[in-house]
């Protein structure tokens, strides 16, 4: 644990609350296992003593800004999480003036479960090229220097090389395990529809059956709704209680969106997302 960094976060949070700049600070605190971490909502200066930051702080706290609309809130963000802020700004979900962003440089997060902490970096962190948040008001701990592997999408291209039938089998097996707890949706900063298509009754797009065909519908549309919007925090995969490899879906779309539309979500709060714009002269594969 970087004590210096944590002290900076605590000091900043305490001052923001004392001065009344914000109503609350969303950060991390130690979890009940005394090993990993969990989100902390600090509303009084004394709460800020519980704030921590280390390699177990995987949660993307930007999601909670959607619960606190209209309030002035400070939030601790890692570089990947900061892209979610740009996404929400881009989509008009939050106001920049209402958010005070306490950025932290990221050494990479390790794989954790309750009461378990591994030494291994999360897969997304091994290839992450962002060491500093893309947007922040205060950067705690200064910039971090580290080496990361290049994102090659090797697991995706491996999937692509398989036959359509093999892939169908693979995904039905994966989706067959889904228990439709919707944790993937609930944790996602890009999922904020007032009524999710999965909850609409008329027309009924996805039924209540927890069965492969309906799970397939749910997962297909859920991930496609995030095409060009997923910022790659990979929280959906992390929280999945039945370990469905959701990053294989999200990163496939990320890769295709990059190739087809030269776009990456959450890097620029002003740039039009790929499905809200077009180029008249572009030619798609099916037109050739």
């Amino acid at each position: 644990m970087d004590k210096e960094l944590i002290q900076q976060i605590r000091d900043k949070a305490r001052n923001l609350l004392k001065e009344g700049t914000v109503e609350g600070v969303i950060g991390y605190e130690r979890a009940s296992d005394d090993l990993t971490s969990r989100p902390l909502f600090a509303y009084s200066p004394s709460d800020t003593e519980r704030l921590i930051f280390d390699e177990t702080c995987a949660h993307n706290l930007v999601k909670y800004l959607l619960d606190k609309k209209g309030k002035k809130i400070a939030v601790v963000v890692k570089p990947c999480d900061s892209r979610a802020i740009n996404l929400l700004l881009n989509e008009g979900q939050i106001e920049r003036d209402n958010v005070f962003i306490i950025g932290v440089g990221c050494p990479g997060m390790v794989e954790t479960n309750w009461n378990h902490k591994s030494e291994t970096l999360q897969a997304k962190c091994r290839t992450c090229q962002l060491f500093k948040p893309v947007v922040y008001d205060f950067l705690a701990g200064g910039e971090i220097e580290r080496q990361a592997e290049e994102e090659t999408y090797s697991d995706i291209t491996e999937e692509e090389a398989k036959s359509v039938a093999t892939r169908r089998e693979f995904w039905l097996e994966q989706f067959g395990r889904c228990i439709r707890c919707y944790a993937c949706r609930q944790v996602c900063p890009g999922c904020y529809c007032p009524v999710c298509f999965a909850e609409r009754l008329d027309p009924l797009w996805v039924g209540i059956r927890i069965a492969p065909e309906e799970n397939d519908m749910w997962q297909t549309i859920r991930s496609f709704h995030l095409a060009g919007r997923c910022i790659g925090c990979n929280e959906c995969e992390r929280v999945c209680p039945v370990d469905i490899p959701l990053s294989l879906l999200n990163r496939k779309l990320e890769k295709d969106v990059k190739e087809l539309f030269a776009f990456q979500a959450g890097l620029d709060p002003e740039e039009a997302p790929p499905f809200a714009t077009f180029k008249k002269e572009e030619v798609m594969e099916f037109e050739k």
Binding site: E159, E160, V164, A165, T166, R167, R168, E169, F170, W171, L172, F197, W205, P212, E213, E214, D216, M217, T220, I221, S223, F224, A227, G228, L249, K252, L253, D256, V257, L260, F261, P274, F275, F278, K280, E282, M284, E285, F286, E287
Partner: protein
């Protein structure tokens, strides 16, 4: 004798061009396979990827999304959005194990009755070649 496999096709046709194109094929008495069930939409841009995925989930063998040629959209630019959306969806469905050949996106104008008829013959033949989709 078992009857030959007849693929089920759902077609989303835009009101201004492709639906009129299909009409043209009909009124001109052109022959084309009867495998398609047509759903008329105001613009190909109205077609939510959700509709297409739902068609496949409910047992369609192929889906056709058809609208005005780029530049000719009745609403000026609806079909440019269609183009982007379904270019990505085709890749994604393929990745999930629904061959991209099963989702066709075609530009058919009101005067292209011939094109519509030929396109359907071609599409139906291609789907027949692919065979029924594996049941879940």
């Amino acid at each position: 004798m078992k009857s030959a496999y007849e693929p089920k096709v759902i077609g989303f046709l835009c009101n201004w061009c492709s639906y009129a194109g299909a009409d043209m094929a009909g009124t001109s008495r052109m022959r084309y396979p009867q495998n398609i069930r047509i759903i008329r939409v105001p613009c190909s841009g109205r077609v939510d990827p959700l509709f297409v995925v739902k068609c496949f989930q409910r047992g369609a063998d192929g889906v056709l999304v058809s609208g005005c040629h780029p530049g000719d959209c009745h609403y000026t630019e609806g079909n440019y959005y269609t183009r982007r959306r379904f270019a990505l969806l085709r890749e994604f469905l393929d990745y999930l194990g629904i061959a991209k050949e099963r989702l066709r996106v075609e530009w058919v104008s009101a005067s292209e009755g011939q094109k519509f008829a030929e396109l359907l013959s071609d599409f139906t033949a291609e789907l027949a070649g692919l065979g029924p989709r594996s049941k879940i």
